[in-house]
């Protein structure tokens, strides 16, 4: 995919906020001393009066966001996923989730692809944490087109939303002319009968590549993009299981509590099917270039192909 345009979804986040700031005058952006990294600096430059730096104090930032929402504003609270979902978990739960306030959390630098900063900043637990909060919507967009659309969908949704963005430039595979974001709806990107690869975020483009390679081997793989992890699109998952009888989930997140677990929950209760999970296997990451780390942790097309092939053979 050397000639494909690549944009990190954190860039998409910053650009979308700056664009939508004109349309939604009630939109306010908070950051915790990471505006240059989360890309909310783009919004800050355009709308300095609607941007508030909270300093390195994420717990307070979540409360401030709650107060803004309780008085009719639409705040986006931005920081790294590690601090948004990790450090400030209880503030998100009690000050935002419990009163069901209209706060949007823009969590960047999610997953192992943070790269060189290493394990302390590689958040592979955020989806698991956020899934447990009643009423929390979770969006993990796959590319620039989807990420920008997701930001506007979050604004239009009344209630708390956790959005997950990445640091690493991701291939742009959606066509902005035809792409339509529907909150809570998965997208079937490719039909297939042998196996269904269900991916989210950065792993969706890898899943598409893997399906192409599998096709060359005679394996017909369906590919589904789950951008909304909560509420999850049960129908698309159940139908994929009915058609293929074999599900492979791929996520740049722990295999505990993320997309794989959410899909397993749906299948176990509705249509039990054989399943394989690809994700970070209950271990911490470490430093290294993002692309190399993704390969090392098996979060790449090659590993998807291998796991899919083995699973299809074992059917």
């Amino acid at each position: 995919m050397a000639d494909v345009k690549k944009i990190a979804t954190r860039e998409s986040y910053g650009n979308a906020l700056a664009e939508l700031g004109d349309k939604y005058e009630n939109l306010y952006v908070l950051d915790a001393d990471l505006a240059a990294a989360t890309k909310t600096g783009i919004f800050k430059k355009k709308f300095p009066d609607r941007f508030f730096d909270c300093g390195i104090a994420e717990s307070n930032m979540m409360g401030v966001a709650a107060g803004l929402a309780a008085t009719g504003k639409i705040p986006f609270a931005s920081t790294f996923a590690m601090f948004a979902a990790g450090r400030a978990f209880e503030q998100v739960r009690n000050s935002i989730g419990y009163p069901h306030l209209n706060v949007k959390i823009g969590a960047t630098h999610a997953g192992i692809s943070v790269g060189e900063d290493g394990a302390t900043h590689q958040c592979n637990e955020d989806i698991a944490l956020m899934r447990t909060i009643p009423g929390m919507t979770i969006i993990n967009p796959a590319d620039d087109v989807e990420a920008r659309a997701a930001v506007e969908a979050a604004i239009l949704h009344n209630g708390p939303v956790y959005m997950r963005f990445g640091r690493l430039a991701a291939p742009v595979f959606n066509d902005p002319a035809t792409y339509k974001f529907e909150l809570g709806k998965g997208i079937q990107l490719r039909d297939g009968k042998d196996i269904a690869i269900i991916a989210t975020g950065l792993m969706v483009s890898e899943a598409i590549e893997a399906a192409k390679a599998l096709s060359a081997e005679g394996i017909d793989a369906m590919v589904i993009n789950i951008h909304t992890i909560k509420p999850i699109d049960k129908d698309i998952i159940i139908n994929a299981a009915k058609k293929t009888g074999l599900i492979l989930t791929v996520e740049e997140h722990s295999v505990i509590g993320g997309l794989g677990s959410a899909v397993a929950d749906v299948l176990a209760e509705n249509y039990p099917a054989k399943m394989v999970k690809i994700g970070v296997n209950d271990e911490f990451g470490h430093s290294g270039p993002a692309v190399d780390l993704l390969k090392e942790f098996g979060l790449c097309a090659e590993n998807i192909v291998n796991k899919a092939r083995d699973a299809v053979k074992a059917k």
Binding site: A66, A70, T71, G72, N94
Partner: protein, 279 residues
């Protein structure tokens, strides 16, 4: 303070105390000590200070109050009931299954501006509300009430920095300095002292007051209104369990309910005070 108003507030505060006791007694659990220590403050705010509209609880221009020390919800509920936000009968089912009144404040209860109770979080939310008013040029005020033990939470000081940085002079925080927290005296458990100096160092305008003297409370809140470009904190010296002799300054009443005999005695004491006031 005008003598008639003062007497009226003293009468109302007695009724608020009776409501607190009724709620906690019927719940067989809850936090009477810290509720009684803020009973006069809450009475003053809702009956003499805040612009609130019980018939329109969500009026956008109303003053807000975030009870950061949310475990003292009985005081808030009792004042709201007295003010007419909901029936006083609701106090009888405080903490019961299916009841309106949750163990800690919940935003869905009429008159409750924010869910709270996980200590340290309310002041941040109050900062957000005050900031919101600033950016919209709204003139409403935001009040938040903190416990003196609560300010051991680090988030309080994140919020304190934030409020001073953004010059939130429409925010008034009150620290209920009753000197006791669950495990004992605050200076023995984890001293937050010197409270006044700490807030001053964080850029706040600090006022000291007597929590059980309406003249003192009025003077403090009037002074707060003269302050510009700084948030204000009123460090209010109070008595935990105030108004019920056997609960006063006794930490064992932080989080336990009176039995029937104790309840009867507590009600008798507060009722006697009420009768005395009403003549």
């Amino acid at each position: 303070m005008d003598a008639t108003l003062k007497k009226q507030l003293e009468i109302t505060a007695c009724k608020v105390r009776l409501g607190i006791l009724e709620g906690v007694f019927n719940a067989k659990s809850g936090h009477p000590g810290g509720s009684l220590s803020i009973a006069d403050l809450m009475t003053y705010l809702y009956f003499a200070k805040m612009n609130v509209y019980p018939d329109k609880p969500d009026e956008p221009q109303r003053d807000r109050l975030v009870l950061s020390k949310g475990h003292t919800a009985p005081a808030l509920y009792s004042v709201l009931a007295e003010k007419g936000y909901f029936s006083k009968d609701e106090l009888k089912s405080l903490r019961h299954i299916g009841a309106l009144l949750q163990g800690h404040p919940c935003i869905h209860i009429p008159g409750v501006d924010m869910s709270s109770g996980s200590l340290g979080q309310g002041i941040s939310v109050a900062c957000g509300m005050a900031l919101s008013a600033k950016v919209s040029n709204d003139t409403y005020k935001v009040y938040t009430v903190l416990g003196d033990g609560e300010i051991e939470e680090g988030q309080v000081w994140e919020a304190a920095m934030f409020a001073a940085h953004y010059k939130l002079d429409n925010l008034v925080a009150v620290v209920d300095n009753n000197g006791l927290q669950i495990d004992g005296k605050i200076e023995d458990v984890m001293s937050p002292y010197p409270i006044v100096d700490k807030f001053k160092a964080f850029g706040w305008h600090v006022i000291e007051a007597d929590a059980h003297d309406f003249d003192s409370l009025e003077a403090a809140f009037n002074e707060a209104e003269t302050v510009a470009y700084q948030p204000v904190v009123i460090v209010m010296k109070s008595v935990k369990g105030k108004g019920v002799s056997f609960m006063e300054n006794n930490v064992s009443w932080h989080g336990s309910a009176p039995n029937a005999e104790q309840y009867a005695q507590a009600v008798a004491e507060v009722s006697a005070r009420l009768e005395e006031l009403e003549g």
